[in-house]
Amino acid sequence: MVIFITPRISIYFKNIARQQYLPSFLHFYFYICNQSRAMQKRLVLDQKQIAIILKRFCHQLIENHDTFENTVLLGLQPRGPIVLDKIAKTLAELTGFKVPFGYLDATFHRDDFRRRDFPLKANETKIDFLIEGKEVVLIDDVLYKGRSVRAALDAMIAFGRPQKVELMVLVDRKYTRDYPIMPDYVGVKVNTLESQYVSVEWAEKGFDKDAIWIIEKP
């Protein structure tokens, strides 16, 4: 707590120096309260737990897909591919099979185009194979409203008619779904509020270590 507050105090005194705040004890108290509430974040998974979950995912996949001869993995852009890469790497280590995988971007298939303030930026779709008759595992980091998964199902059909589709997510935000979409593989289920978001941090993306947080929206 002290570590959190210390830099805030310095900002507070800076603002006093700029005469933006009248210095009073009560004011100071409210300022700190507000600031610390805005900063509120709760750790959901740490690096070790994430590694365990990813390993569990791989074993579950091996259990369900046996030799992987008819299975492909698709990571949903923008944040699914990083989970996918880790799973593909671990799977290769565990089984020796090279499971075909690709990245799927569903931006052009979303149902909220022209309904948001800003259009979403499209990402790369990289699928070098057809999914006709394949068993597809869609991989993403957080499942929230289910709308991106719906769009992804739509986008996926452009590459053929899959035999079966499964969904794998690291974090399932419970009771928040807009569409009847249910994951087959879940890392952790969490209760969250509309006012919160789930932040997934990866060491590869420049963070200190892998971690998943629930954070109050500013």
Binding site: F108, F113, F118, P119, K121, A122, E124, A155
Partner: protein
């Protein structure tokens, strides 16, 4: 930024280099869509687009129509030769009538420079300029620059020579703006009569000798002699033009480097460009056409997203 700074694409002059980069990045994604077994996305399914062509066109019109259909938009086509324009209806009236049938976007080609600008002040739909007289042809410039970027990796720092009928070319003007915004050096080359007097004020080099221009450039964009716009004789004969300004294989072989040949089409074979060059491996003319659909999809998609 994931949004264009403008509601209409009237000309390259009005958009920023960030806009151009955003269009290119989006076009990359659409190019991938065009290589899928099912080349269609549902993004614009609730949008109706009117293609209003007051001037003849093959490539641009087909390319726009394909782009619209691959974005799942509803498309209505209109050409002036079979319409009430012949009966004396004004431009604003024609377009307003089309718009009252609930059209969201208008793609327009017109023989008068500034026609889309005039329209944008009078109607509420998004307007895409598909060529206005001798003024601008923004989507052609975008797809040219996109093709250069695809072939050479980047447009920044490249030397591009635009050779031919600069005076009557909307492609030349849009290309100059677009390439300069992306950091390329531009040279124009052609007979003195077909080069506008003050073109150097745009910051382009002017060259009369086509061999020197080819020696200087990395990319040669060769333009068509627009006989339909030339009311007076600007040069003695087509044969003489082709003798002095036509590009052939022999000229390319004499260069000490390989250059990329582009042409916005339609080609007058044997006049500005010989068949041995147009069909050679130096030419990216057909890639330009292919990229045209992706770039136009990106433009329509991004404009539709602007509120």
């Amino acid at each position: 930024m994931s949004q264009l700074s403008t509601r209409h694409l009237l000309g390259i002059k009005d958009i920023t280099s960030e806009d151009i980069r955003l269009i290119f990045e989006t076009a990359d994604n659409f190019k991938e869509v065009l290589n899928r077994p099912i080349k269609k996305v549902p993004s614009l399914r609730d949008i109706t687009i009117a293609n209003i062509f007051f001037e003849n066109s093959t490539r641009t019109r087909l390319s726009f129509e394909l782009a619209e259909k691959r974005l799942s938009a509803d498309v209505v086509n209109f050409s002036s030769s079979t319409s009430s324009v012949k009966k004396g209806e004004t431009l604003t009236d024609t377009v307003n009538n089309i718009l009252s049938m609930k059209v969201d976007m208008v793609v327009m080609r017109h023989s008068s420079p500034g026609a889309p600008h005039f329209l944008s002040k009078n109607i509420s739909a998004n307007i895409v300029n598909a060529g206005d007289g001798t003024h601008e042809h923004p989507t052609q410039a975008l797809l040219d620059a996109f093709s250069i970027r695809e072939k050479l990796g980047d447009v920044m720092g490249k030397k591009v020579a635009i050779i031919g009928d600069i005076l009557h070319s909307r492609v030349a003007l849009s290309n100059i703006f677009c390439l300069q915004k992306l950091g390329a050096e531009v040279m124009v080359c052609g007979p003195t009569t077909l080069i506008p007097k003050h073109i150097a004020s745009l910051g382009v080099k002017v060259e009369m000798d086509v061999k020197k221009a080819l020696q200087w450039c990395d990319v040669a964009n060769i333009l068509r002699i627009q006989l339909e716009r030339q009311q007076i004789k600007y040069f003695p004969s087509l044969r003489e033009y082709s003798l002095y300004f036509g590009v052939n294989k022999k000229m390319l072989d004499q260069l000490d480097k390989e250059i990329v040949i582009m042409h916005p089409g339609p080609i007058n074979r044997g006049v500005e460009l010989n068949s041995d060059v147009a069909d050679s491996e130096h030419s990216i003319i057909l890639q330009q056409v292919e990229n045209g659909v992706a770039v136009r999809m990106a433009v329509l998609y991004l404009l539709a997203g602007v509120r």
